[in-house]
Amino acid sequence: MGKYFKAWNLILGFIFIILFFAVLYPILFIFKASFIHPETGAFSLKSYQNFFHYPYYLRCLRNSLFVSSLGTLFALILGVPFAFFLARYRIPGKNLIKTLGTLPLILPTFIGAEAWLMLLGRNGLFAKLLGPLGIDVPSIYGWRGIVLVFTLQFFPFIFLMVSAAINAIDRSLEEAATNLGSGRLRVFFTVTLPVVTPAILSGALVVFYLCIENFGVPILIGEDFRVLSVQAYNEFISEMGGNPSMAGALSMVLLAITLGLTLLQKYWVERKSYAMTSLNPLEVKQLRPLPTFLIWLFCAGLVFIALFPFAVVMVSSITKTSGPVMYWGQFSLENFIRAVAIAPRPIINSFFLATTATLIGIVFGVVVSYLLVRRRGAVSYLLDLLVMLPLAIAGTVQGIALAATYNKGLIVLTGTWMILVLAYFVRKTPYSIKTTSALLQQIDGSIEEASINLGVPPVRSFIKVVIPIMLPGIIAGGIIMWVTTLAELSSTIVLYYGPWATMTVEVFQRIGSGDFGPASAYATILIISVLIPLFILNRVSGKDLASSL
């Protein structure tokens, strides 16, 4: 590298220092902590022995794998046909179905869980309506409810990835198969489906990852059905102040799984996917009225069922309540008054923390994107690995690691609002980097060289030429960072303390105490705060909101 990159080398060094302390060190710290005997403080394998010895812990692992497998399976069963139907057939209202179909990805899962509790829980709407008629409402508690929520919230991932793969198929591929003598079904099973299979697998891995790292759903409706993330949290809360040894061990087990899934996704599935450029997309067929209606019913119905819980939450926020008892049909603004006027602090906290983390993340993300795309080499490979690592770490694990690391010692952040900003920054900046670096990849490096050649020094050239061109990507990345931060529960719940409770914490705790009305009011504010920026982004840039996740 030439001498004129000196300024960038300094920046690179600074970035590595930040990443080391924000990403790598906490994980290493908790890794080390997991090998410390909870009572004696000496090096020991006690926590791992406990994990493999007590069926209690092993059951958590089994439960995690069980609900994640089922969630993935059902997401596939619903998501794959959903993608195929929308890509290949004429269906009324297709664009609306597509747009709404991706919404569940962005809406917080724990709010979905809350809605199902209000519908199918012990004091739920269905129990109230059907109970007097002597009809038993199926229980939402335990693994059934968890799988239900996972399926409905994560099937859009399968949909997005599979439809991207379908759209990449050129019409000639199927025509060639037909020309060689294959019938319609044969073409589908010998050509179309195999070509799309890597995308299906990839989507399945992503969904499995999302299920196993999820915290909000199992803790709210799992009850006695404990999963790894919930158990790690419970152990951490009870160990706080002592040695986070058992929480550390559980975190490491979860980390091994999520890391493995990510590596599998990155190196195995991505290598197997087929790169194609589609000149002529597949033909969109018009079916006869009855099949068209059935397909429409499936697609529209699925979207309706997936979004229905959020409508329920929004309606319940303006419904009269008293503790867990909802007076459906009687409207009142009391919940909002209590949330906004009496306890507005969580709202302010959420906005403040999300905005701060996003602003830092944007600046950091722009610089890192630039280094990743423009200064390729061994160092940028390491940088890529480090900066994307948090995407492979469950929020609970990240929270535990940060809290334990910065609890004492030179830098004490635990118990301050800064640790929340740090966690959000670490966990959400990858989204900002993804969008900005994707855009930067399309900008030829010579643009910047042209500016340098005309007499503007490198760093100033970057500011004057590259940043303005990247601006749409920066804004899109920032919005995605902001909304996902706002909806973050898993790391927040570990890291917040009293006055810095966020809206997500508030929703979570009020559901826990059966205070559904105010929970719904905060949840509704959360939903609206997430949807409005995404809606604006969609209008302004025509960007598919969820595709950036």
Binding site: M1, G2, K3, Y4, D444, S446, I447, E449, A450, S451, I452, N453, L454, G455, V456, P457, P458, S461, V465, P468, I469
Partner: protein, 356 residues
């Protein structure tokens, strides 16, 4: 400004992209770096611009060593292969970019831009965005932007490769006209030998990072020094033969080629194996009656391609490898078909004995 490269070397990992290249480019010259992709020509240009630092050797602009001068202080104007226009700036602002970096007063910026816009014929397009321009217009903006800062050296990296064939010809003429008008030292990179011959004062042929030959276009065409230069500039028949003897004045060599005799005038290679380059258009067609004459050879026609103004033959050659022959302005009845025996004459003063 004179440009002096002394023993320049650049490595990318194990690969020597530029290997011990020395060049002296005189003030006001249109100098072209010519070679196939991967030959190191763009790497060399980027070292002159300062985007790469040479691993060895020295770059001088005039008397000043510039190895350690950062690219933004080298005062070179560069035209990039894809133009690299700033998409967020108008045509005017693109051209003004370098002037503003130099903090020139606004009035002077406007005056200079007015002048350059006239000479590259972009009048009336000042307010447009780059995306609203045609390829040729974008090319002119890139050229204007590089020239308006009055650089000492103009660098051009395959500037015409994104244009269609017709536009390429007219643009290269225009680039040459402007270069002559300004008298600016220009270093031009291309892989297109015709383009190189059309615009250059001098050409350097590069191959695998090494310099093959430097010279005026006609010099390289008529007197290639290496097999690579002979084959890359135009096409050439490469024949290996054995020198058998010389005449009294040592002006005529007799050489044996697969049982047939060939005489070459005006060059004196050492005895033994030599490599000869003969361009297809230098070889004339003879008839059977002349078979016994000096330098008339014959062979079976392997393929015959009629292209209108010329016919291209591939004939079984004396040493096994086929010989390419181009007959310009052919006679309708004089075209030989596949399998026929073709007699041809190699003029004794045309072939070039290659070095090495």
């Amino acid at each position: 400004m004179r440009v002096e490269l002394t023993r320049i070397t650049k490595r990318f990992g194990p690969l020597k992209a530029v290997d011990d290249v020395s060049l002296s480019i005189r003030e006001g010259t249109f100098f072209t770096l010519l070679g196939p992709s991967g030959c190191g020509k763009t790497t060399l240009l980027r070292m002159i611009a300062g985007f790469y630092t040479p691993d060895g050797g020295e770059i001088r602009f005039g008397d000043k060593r510039v190895n350690d001068v950062p690219p933004h202080k080298r005062e070179t104007g560069m035209v990039f292969q894809n133009y690299a226009l700033f998409p967020h700036l108008s045509v005017f602002d693109n051209i003004a970019y370098g002037l503003r970096a130099r903090k020139l007063p606004r009035r002077e910026i406007e005056a200079r831009i007015g002048k350059i816009i006239g000479s590259v014929q972009l009048e009336g397009l000042e307010g447009r965005a780059p995306s609203q321009l045609s390829g040729g217009q974008q090319q002119r903006v890139a050229l204007a932007r590089a020239l308006v800062i009055s650089p000492q050296i103009l660098l051009m990296d395959e500037p015409l490769s994104n244009l269609d064939a017709k536009l390429r010809v007219s643009m290269r003429e225009e680039i040459r006209r402007i270069q002559k008008e300004l008298g600016i030292t220009t270093i031009y990179v291309t892989h297109d030998q015709e383009e190189a011959m059309a615009v250059s004062d001098r050409i350097a042929i590069l191959n695998r990072g090494r310099l093959e030959q430097v010279g005026a276009p006609a010099e390289i065409y008529f007197r290639p020094e290496s097999r690579f230069a002979a084959e890359f500039m135009g096409s050439s028949n490469i024949i290996e033969l054995t020198v058998e003897g010389y005449d009294e004045a040592a002006a005529l060599i007799t050489a044996e080629a697969g049982g047939q005799w060939l005489r070459i005038r005006g060059q004196r290679p050492p005895e033994g194996r030599i490599v000869l380059s003969i361009r297809p258009e230098w070889i004339g067609v003879a008839d059977a009656a002349q078979a016994a004459e000096a330098n008339v050879l014959s062979g079976e026609v392997l393929s015959s391609t009629f292209l209108g103004p010329l016919v291209r033959y591939r004939v079984a050659g004396p040493t096994g490898a086929p010989i390419a022959i181009e007959v310009h302005n052919p006679d309708e009845r004089g075209i030989h078909g596949d399998g026929e025996r073709l007699f041809y004459r190699i003029p004794p003063d045309k072939p070039v004995v290659l070095k090495g």
